[in-house]
């Protein structure tokens, strides 16, 4: 096999070089070869994460200073082989490696090789070197190779591969300066004629048969590496005897995930309270600065409260990502996928879908972002589609409200209803996965092939960066959509403004009586009770305002549609309002039942709701209605943050809208069935 020689060293080119375009270096290598660590060591904190245009392939882009010039460094997804890429990966690779005519080729490549596993890494190297791009090889983990007794002849290897080879230890930063120096040399001798398009070379990729590449790799290793007499199999194998056991491994995994969830819920409560406090304070400050009126209401009730209601989930998302990144860095997640694969395949999904499925019980947003690890696009899409059926933490206030309504004095039955709701979500997800796998995304789960890398100490720094990246994506994607939706919902709930003439006579009299009572109490010196009466009057007015608003009218408009589920127009309004975030239904109902926004905090709401009657005098929240409401909120896709993220990760709004559509239909159908069924049973 012939490998491309490095471009000739022609200093003359340097003088004539005009580089209006920023130079780009791409970092290529096997997964688990330490790519991310090397990337961080080279670029520091200045990395951004973005999808390659038109794909869901995620790239990290950072800046690297070389010879006084700022160069873009692109961290490509970890690859075992260029020819094994999916069509989507193919598009990204072609763009990045200069194989597509519309994208310029990178100035140079850093090819990262794991020195403890050179034969397999050289397989990818044989394909990458054929691209003919200026390449510097970073030979990572030379310290570990030494400990394993491997002696690598670096000069010999450089000669064999036809490009500079720099031994590095990315974790400690050893050799990184030498790597920079080598890159500077390669960039300096960049010929100023555009790089020979690598396209025809790319066509050769598949002409060399794979076993010939390995034959070559073995020959190179035979010449350049002295192996120890005896091979050492580290501790990893002993640990794996336990962690990949079909029974013990599953139990260990579930125990670990239980610990992760405990940490999420216990650690997140502190920053969540803090965020709640900060947004409350921001609202107060804004209310103090802006004179009362529509603008104040828009900013305080619309924007600040709306965004605050979603940002409050940021701590959970961050902690979940931090912990998953730590677990991934240890190498454990590969074992989790390994032990869960057999169970998950019965549902038609790969083992790698299990960690996202569990994460969705905290929040669907990080869970959907975590589906990136799933190799097969169809498997990944099915997983994304069913993830929001799992009970996330935003549903808990709704579950608590409904179980409070149903079983105020029977905690055991309440717990059973809670468990039932969780189980219904899981069951629905499994069923829908099976249905999707048999209809629009047919096929069995792609059979498992995955590397079980050696266990290692995780890097807190790497995990921190992952967390930061994900948190920013969540804020950008979800935050903007939620802000827009919050403003729309605020407008719907506050306009048209109620004029004095719009208030029904009965309510007006009630308000007037309360206000008179407040005034009387005030003069009698009973300030506390006076404030109480005034609050009641204000709550009555906001109740009327909401009923009068577009949102209230929409509620009346859709009442015939929600009637089969046993909902009245107030519940209809609650359902509409909770499209921004599910838990909003609780505060909306609180306003609609005349308790003001504060009413949602206490038991007062549940009492009030239990006493609520329809115009004909019958109770609103009968047992069938409560169960129907519970079923609806288990299954409905009422979270715009999730929709925004699903569109990003699935690669288009098409899938996100399909998800919104099927979940709404499912929730509507199941809630109707529940209500009608229970009513029929009750009547029978």
């Amino acid at each position: 096999m012939t490998l491309a020689p490095a471009p000739p060293d022609t200093p003359a080119h340097e003088a004539t070089r005009t580089a209006p375009r920023r130079q780009t270096i791409a970092l290529v290598g096997n997964p688990n070869a330490g790519k991310t660590t090397l990337f961080n060591a080279l670029t520091g904190l200045r990395a951004k994460t973005a999808n390659f245009p038109g794909t869901t392939i995620e790239l990290r882009v950072g800046a690297l200073r070389l010879a006084g010039e700022s160069v873009r460094l692109i961290d490509m997804p970890g690859l075992y082989s260029l020819s094994a890429a999916s069509s989507e990966e193919r598009a990204a690779l072609d763009g990045l490696l200069g194989l597509a005519p519309e994208h310029p080729a990178p100035t140079a490549l850093i090819l990262l090789l794991d020195s403890t596993n050179l034969e397999r890494n050289l397989f990818l190297a044989s394909q990458v070197l054929e691209l003919g791009l200026p390449t510097v090889i970073a030979l990572n983990m030379v310290d570990l190779a030494q400990r394993l007794g491997l002696r690598i002849k670096v000069a010999e290897l450089s000669r064999e591969l036809g490009c500079p080879v720099v031994p590095v230890v990315a974790k400690t930063g050893r050799g990184v300066d030498e790597l920079r120096a080598e890159l500077e040399r390669v960039i300096a001798r960049r010929p100023d004629a555009p790089h020979q398009p690598a396209a025809e070379r790319a066509r050769q990729l598949d002409t060399q048969s794979q076993h010939q590449r390995y034959d070559w790799a073995e020959r190179v290793v035979g010449r350049c590496v002295v192996h120890p007499d005896r091979q050492i199999h580290g501790r990893s194998e002993a640990i794996d005897r336990v962690l990949t056991h079909p029974v013990v491994g599953v139990v260990a995994f579930l125990a670990l995930m239980l610990g992760v969830f405990y940490l999420i819920f216990s650690l997140a409560s502190i920053p969540m309270d803090l965020i709640d406090g900060v947004f409350g304070w921001l609202g107060d400050v804004a209310a103090g600065l802006i004179p009362a009126g529509p603008l104040q209401s828009l900013i305080v009730d619309g924007m600040i409260a709306g965004v605050g209601g979603v940002v409050i989930f940021l701590p959970q998302i961050c902690i979940l990502f931090f912990l998953i990144a730590l677990l991934e860095d240890t190498g454990y997640l590969a074992r989790a996928a390994f032990v869960m694969d057999r169970l998950m395949r019965r549902v038609g999904l790969p083992g790698k879908a299990f960690v996202p499925m569990l994460s969705a019980h905290a929040c669907a947003v990080p869970a959907i972002m975590a589906t990136k690890v799933i190799d097969d696009r169809r498997d990944r899409l099915v997983t994304i589609l069913v993830l929001p059926l799992m009970t996330c933490s935003a549903r808990l206030p709704v579950y608590a409200m409904v179980t409070g309504l149903l079983f105020p004095t029977q905690p055991l039955l309440g717990a059973a209803a809670f468990t039932g709701a969780y189980s219904l979500g899981i069951l629905a997800a499994i069923s829908m996965a099976l249905i999707f796998k048999r209809t629009i995304l047919p096929g069995q789960a792609r059979p498992l092939v995955l590397e079980l890398p050696s266990y290692k100490m995780p890097s807190l720094k790497t995990a921190f960066f992952v967390m930061l990246d994900r948190g920013i994506i969540f804020l950008k994607k979800a935050g903007t959509v939620i802000l827009a939706l919050s403003i729309v919902l605020w407008w719907l709930a506050n306009f048209p403004e109620m004029q004095p003439g719009d208030v029904p006579a009965g309510t007006a009299a009630q308000v007037a009586a309360l206000e008179a009572q407040a005034a009387a109490l005030e003069t009698a010196g009973q300030a506390e009770q006076a404030a109480l009466a005034a609050d009641q009057a204000a709550d009555l007015i906001s109740q009327q305002q909401l009923a009068h608003s577009f949102l209230g009218r929409l509620g009346h408009l859709i009442e015939p549609a929600v009637l089969p589920m046993g909902f009245d127009w107030q519940l209809g309004v609650g359902v509409l309002a909770s499209f921004a975030a599910r838990e909003v239904v609780v505060s909306t109902l609180s306003i609609l039942y005349g308790l003001g926004e504060e009413g949602a905090e206490g038991a007062a709401l549940v009492d009030q709701m239990r006493a609520a009657t329809r115009p004909d005098g019958s109770l609103v929240f009968t047992l069938p209605v409560c169960f129907s409401l519970l079923v609806f909120y288990v299954l409905a896709m009422q979270c715009f943050a999730t929709t925004a993220i699903a569109a990003r990760e699935a690669g288009g709004w098409r899938w996100a809208l399909l998800q919104l559509g099927y979940m709404t239909v499912l929730a509507y159908g199941a809630a109707t069935l529940t209500y009608q069924g229970l009513t029929w049973l009750g009547a029978a």
Partner: protein, 116 residues
Amino acid sequence: MFTMGNRWAPIVPIPPPDCNPFLMSSATLESPGLVPLAGLGKRARGTIRLLEMAGDELNRLAGFGICMGRTVELIKRGDPLILRVYGTRIGLSARLAQCIHVEPADGASPDAAEPR
């Protein structure tokens, strides 16, 4: 696509994604001594001589070092099973392992081979 220098080389068909039982039996009959990978004894080594799968899967496995002519060691049986390939351990679903045929290394007993 293959040079003929290797005596095992010309037999990589492009069958449907799953093992074709007909192809498997005929190929095994043609090359006696071959054992499906999952049939290797524990800790036994074997050299891959035949992969019955579509090009996509061949490409994917090759990236992991599971490729014609490579020697692998079966570390853990079961589904999925664990192989050692070039010093790394690879988890592999039994469904794929069924479609990979190896020539057991010296000392490994081929008695686990499927009955004729």
